[in-house]
Amino acid sequence: MSSVPAAPSRAPLRGLLRGLPLLPSLVLLLVFLAGPIGYCVYYAFTDLQLTGASGTNFVGLRNFTRAFDDPDFLNAVELTLVFVVGSAVIGQNSLGLALAALMEKASKPVRSITGAVVVAAWVLPEVVAGYLMYAFFYQQGSLNAILRLLHLPQQNWLYTLPILAVCIANVWRGTAFSMLVFSAALSEVPKELVEAAEMDGAGPWQRLWRVTLPVIRRAVLTNLMLVTLQTLSVFGLIYTMTRGGPGNSSQTLPVFMYQQAFQNSLIGYGTAVALVLLAVGGVFSAVYIRMLKVEED
């Protein structure tokens, strides 16, 4: 806009030329992301199978009606909800906030130690984290050893409460993100605001609810969105720990989708499930964007 007004016929060409650096990204995104998502929409309405393919037929909404009649799918939806709400919305979010708040008050070495430990679990590759958590929850594993030490009842966690185990595993692995976001947000809360509330006689909880949380509201919302989106697509952690089992008692949507498509060779059905997952992610993503409101410039 600020450039010298060129001859009108040259302007679009110049714009095109200046947009040229976008091309490689555009091609990659179209071929590898937009393309598959478009395919995904198409496949979801077919009976595509990978083995013994005798032509692919258009089956309309049958994959979707089938999904919503399938108790296993509904089970997966339910478990996904438990997993996302339990481990992301409640677990990671509140533990992250608690850690960030406590770390503000802790001494420097303790702050460093806590931060390092929590972040280490986050940086660890997904499969390694899954493996460690598998060992942790295994019947002869560390958790039961700790419980025995404390004279508390023990369980075969991966069999009796697999969804709880994977939720805790995801909290263990993912909390660092929330912690870093909240640490950054808390450091920007004006100290005089908190001190003023304290002088007015507000207790620690009141200060948290009435002063700190309203100030960092935006960070809380953003963080909620991001951890929800991340948790929605967790696959490796659960697959390493339980393979969705025993039975289907920890089979969240990504695991269900994988097993339908690759173990039962029902690509069409698996794709329909993937589309549902994409749609849910899309809704969250759209809400997230609205919250961020890309700055107008």
Partner: protein, 304 residues
């Protein structure tokens, strides 16, 4: 490890400095006494928590150096046998090299493309800019797990399954939305004045980008590079689905097959391999946190 203490304290003037220094503190001794007692109890709580959090990691380290490793936290009878057993071409070197090729290549693709894409997005005014940015931001939220089945079908049809090059490109493309978004917000922070001076001297757009903008945003480029690489290095699902031949599998998948193919007796070796596999990303993150502060890296993602 300078992880926790750096993030919040690096950028900008700290708000607390704005408190008028003359204001008398009314709470005197009581406040200070309660403060230190409070600090001690907070310290204890955090230390206990850290210890609990550390248990799985500790188990891995102990299992990797103990000769008789089960699932218990055993008193170590130190041995290097586990490490020596896994340090061969088939178990360690090839998967690590594959991982390096896939993730290094994918990171290179992602960083190069996102630098190029970020430049017009940061500097050019166009009606298409905002919709494009929204689309990019929207795609950062899409669960990439859900795209894998259609990608697999697509790769089967064009015969790209088990191709390392195609997998590398896909990894790069999947990381692009976040890369572009992060890179663009870093580029927005580079003042435009120097650029204009160079333009007056007759530099072309690309010259300005490579000679002036990029050197000024080197920390941002480092952040995008390291984060992209760490993300890819840990990614299990993409190579798991797209690659078949055992000799092409990266460490993320081989550690999984290791896990499913072996029974209890070899958890020591598995732990040793897990450590070897994890060390590169831990080092990279440490480097990043030390030099730039952890919070800095997240700034772009959270503030938008």
């Amino acid at each position: 490890m300078a992880v926790s203490d750096s993030p919040p304290r690096t950028d900008g003037p700290r708000p607390r400095l704005r408190t008028p220094p003359v204001a008398p503190r009314p709470r005197g001794h009581r406040g200070r006494g309660r403060g230190s007692a409070g600090r001690a109890s907070v310290d204890v709580v955090l230390l206990v928590f850290s210890l609990l959090y550390l248990v799985p990691l500790l188990w891995m380290v102990l299992a990797s150096v103990s000769s008789r490793s089960g699932f218990e936290l055993t008193a170590p009878s130190p041995t290097t046998a586990n490490f020596r057993a896994v340090l061969d071409a088939e178990t360690t070197y090839r998967p690590m090299l594959n991982g390096l090729l896939l993730c290094g290549g994918g990171t290179l693709v992602c960083v190069l493309c996102s630098v190029l894409a970020a430049y017009p997005l940061s500097r050019m005014r166009s009606r298409l800019r905002r919709p494009f940015l929204y689309t990019v931001l929207f795609s950062t939220g899409l669960p990439i797990t859900a795209v894998m089945i259609p990608v697999y079908s697509m790769f089967v049809q064009v015969d790209l399954i088990d191709s390392m090059l195609a997998t590398t490109l896909f990894l790069g493309a999947a990381a692009l939305p976040f890369g572009i978004w992060l890179m663009k917000s870093f580029m927005d922070g580079v003042p435009i004045v120097l650029e204009e001076a160079a333009r007056i001297d007759g530099a072309t757009s690309m010259q300005v980008l490579w000679r002036i903008v990029l050197p000024l945003m080197r920390p941002g480029v480092v952040v995008v590079t390291v984060f992209t690489f760490i993300g890819m290095w840990g990614n299990f699902f993409v190579p798991f689905v797209l690659l078949l031949s055992p000799e092409k599998l990266p460490a993320s998948v081989s550690v999984f097959t290791f896990l499913s193919a072996h029974n209890q007796t070899q958890y020591g070796q598995l732990s040793a391999f897990s450590i070897i596999y994890s060390v590169p990303v831990l080092m990279l993150y440490l480097l990043l946190a030390r030099r730039l502060g952890g919070g800095f890296a997240l700034g772009g993602a959270v503030k938008g």
